[in-house]
Symmetry: C2
Subunit: 482 residues, 2 copies
Amino acid sequence: MEEKEAFDKYKNFSEWFRTIIMDAELVDTRYPVKGCYVWRPYGFKLRKYVLDIIKRLLNSTGHEEVLFPLLIPEDILGLEKEHIKGFEGEVYWVTHGGLRKLEKKLALRPTSETAMYSMFKKWVHSHADLPIKVYQIVNIFRYETKATKPLIRVREVTTFKEAHTVHATMEEAEKQVKEAVEIYSKFFDELGVPYIICRRPSFDKFAGAEYSIAFDTLMPDGRTMQIGTVHNLGQNFAKAFELTYEDVNGKHQFAYQTCYGISERVIAAIVAIHGDNRGAIFLPSIAPIQVVIVPIIYKGEEEKVLQQCRKVLDVLRQGGIRTFLDERDISPGRKFYDWEFRGIPVRVEIGPKDVANNQVTIVRRDTFERKTYSMGDLMTVVKEIFTEIEENLRKRAWEEFRKRIFRVKSLQEAREIIQNRRGIALIPWCESDECGLKMCEEVNGNVLGAVLSEDLANPAENEVCPICGRETKNMAAIAKTY
Amino acid sequence: MEEKEAFDKYKNFSEWFRTIIMDAELVDTRYPVKGCYVWRPYGFKLRKYVLDIIKRLLNSTGHEEVLFPLLIPEDILGLEKEHIKGFEGEVYWVTHGGLRKLEKKLALRPTSETAMYSMFKKWVHSHADLPIKVYQIVNIFRYETKATKPLIRVREVTTFKEAHTVHATMEEAEKQVKEAVEIYSKFFDELGVPYIICRRPSFDKFAGAEYSIAFDTLMPDGRTMQIGTVHNLGQNFAKAFELTYEDVNGKHQFAYQTCYGISERVIAAIVAIHGDNRGAIFLPSIAPIQVVIVPIIYKGEEEKVLQQCRKVLDVLRQGGIRTFLDERDISPGRKFYDWEFRGIPVRVEIGPKDVANNQVTIVRRDTFERKTYSMGDLMTVVKEIFTEIEENLRKRAWEEFRKRIFRVKSLQEAREIIQNRRGIALIPWCESDECGLKMCEEVNGNVLGAVLSEDLANPAENEVCPICGRETKNMAAIAKTY
């Protein structure tokens, strides 16, 4: 029974999380290279449906998918000086091909700015070639020296969606940053993953960016996790890569750029935020299996029940529902347990009574509500329940999130929130790096940045920074972070 | 005009091919690492539609998609002795993380047998866990010392679809090999890429396999290109990786395995085989744009024509056709040239006369046949034309292929075929390695193996091997190869 007690989302998040991702067969973390892991078939499907959403959002806003090489020559990786300073400590280097030493070391991409921008230079000639809006979904590599954690802190990020854009003016780059923030907001909204949007302090911005905006969510252990970032690169990379265009007057101008990324951390967030102590809970939109049918079999009635189950399977599959009929020779209870653990949003139970009454019994994974419906309503009902589950999961995630955001005035209160309340503290901040760094130190946490989510923090006008006493226009979000 | 003459598929294939893949913006080969290249948006879409076909074929035969890490530890890569011997000369090694030397070198996967099988061992316990049938689509790396050629001989294979299976018995593994051959045959048939299937001579089998079956197509320059392989691995890897299962009697047995792969070479084949001297020609099923609408504009009638064009665009898009309306301010002739070059299968032209008669003019990319149809028939006609184009491209590719396969009796004839006729020679063969190697030497070409394509080579019974004079049961296919 001890083992059972350890499986508790809030009391032992780390173990709860590891158990779900491993035992629900999303991933296998036993791969013999630290920080690298395997996507198993069930997890791969989940990943695919999540990626389908972001692809749809990007494609419908004029982004085009591309694929760049993994290997980046040392000299090109080093062209933008701030960028390489930020990454040099964690780049993997390929030094040998076969038995020969390579003339030039090759980096495994830690991100693809440098790989892409050396090519964009060849694609952009005049203003008519702009904007460029592309993205790719690839693996990237970081030689993490901290403890790794599957899906969250890894050495091979298997699922890095990075978008990169090029524009003629700063205004257009700014507009693009807004579009990116909107796209990511829609993405996380669809997934029911709550977030706070902050402008990162400049000591914590992306290496080479003018500024960085980030999406953070809050995990059950009270730590925030960065799940998306949007960077305005200004002309920093354009100057390093000589990325220019000829404007309408025939003058050569450096271009403006933005980039924005998400990773498999979003899947970690989905698992962590929606799951409960019976296992994972997946929104129907991304669930690898949306409906599982469990026959409730009594001796002598097997065939009648199974026939009805197959009929239901047919109806649902023809309606485009990802359905699985569990015909294994084990007890229904065991099956319930398995599929609840794996997060299937809807279970259909069919027993002799259901057959007799031409009905189905439906159980919701999120609320365990159990009802019977007539067979004729099957498709309509399942679709309605899908919508209800999606709405409920989103609502309860956001409620939980909001409950853990606290507006405070003093650093002492802030420290209390992040040390003992598993929350995010909002505190007035003058937005200076100096005060930001001091705050981090004083509360033993991290300043996520100036809050941009208007629904979460009213502007902190006429309030004062607790460090320097200057008047503030905005709040800082402070938290323990991953 | 000199440049123009160089663009000839048969006279100067290499230049023709390079021009199409670069200027139609499929890929960009100017990336600053030899043998690595970029998929541009247009090419990426083509690649996606091609991959959709193979995924459908694999998913519908019980294969599941997975994703394994890129990095393979040195000791694990070396577990199967034949395998590592075959690959050690061309493996890229990661030796440093950040500024530190790694304790253990990590290989960039040249293929994923070793990465996968060390995990399969953890997944397989009893016969009930079998079969395993998985695949992944990933990048792999080969340190090629020969001259590289985009899509054909590269250092980063960007698009490696590798399937791996595990079975309880050799019979099941054999059955799986047959299924794989069938899947690949369907795949290449859908794409209209002709092939000859051979069992590779054992001196040319996959490192670690019991035997290898390969699909080769014939390129316009008369060289064959391997576009798919299927390997029966027997128990070789299972023994090296201690991949065992408990059989029904409780005894531990080594498993049997197969693997099979295709790569972006299939896209090289599509471009090379279907294209003509006006550019690429894509089958509608995989064309990134299936229909382009070109307005034929005369002064004063612009708006009427454009309105009709937009109506056609709507109708086609609503019918699920990937359609593009070219409203650029350049001549129709220039537009025809562009879209023909990029391989769009169907062009719709709309001028004032078409508007007046409520009709459209449709031009086929494969035959340049030009006809007018009433607007009311638009969707029906376009779909019919798609089918006709697909059938025609397949038929003409196979006819061309068959014309270049020659059945010969002597090595002299074989040499003549592969040196001067750009063809494949079929010659009786005793199937011994010794005679195979001698043949290669004598004809200055390669023995692709014993022909398995029954429609291409009748069994060579009662014929004799031209080297040893022994009676033969089969033919060897001999060709110049990529």
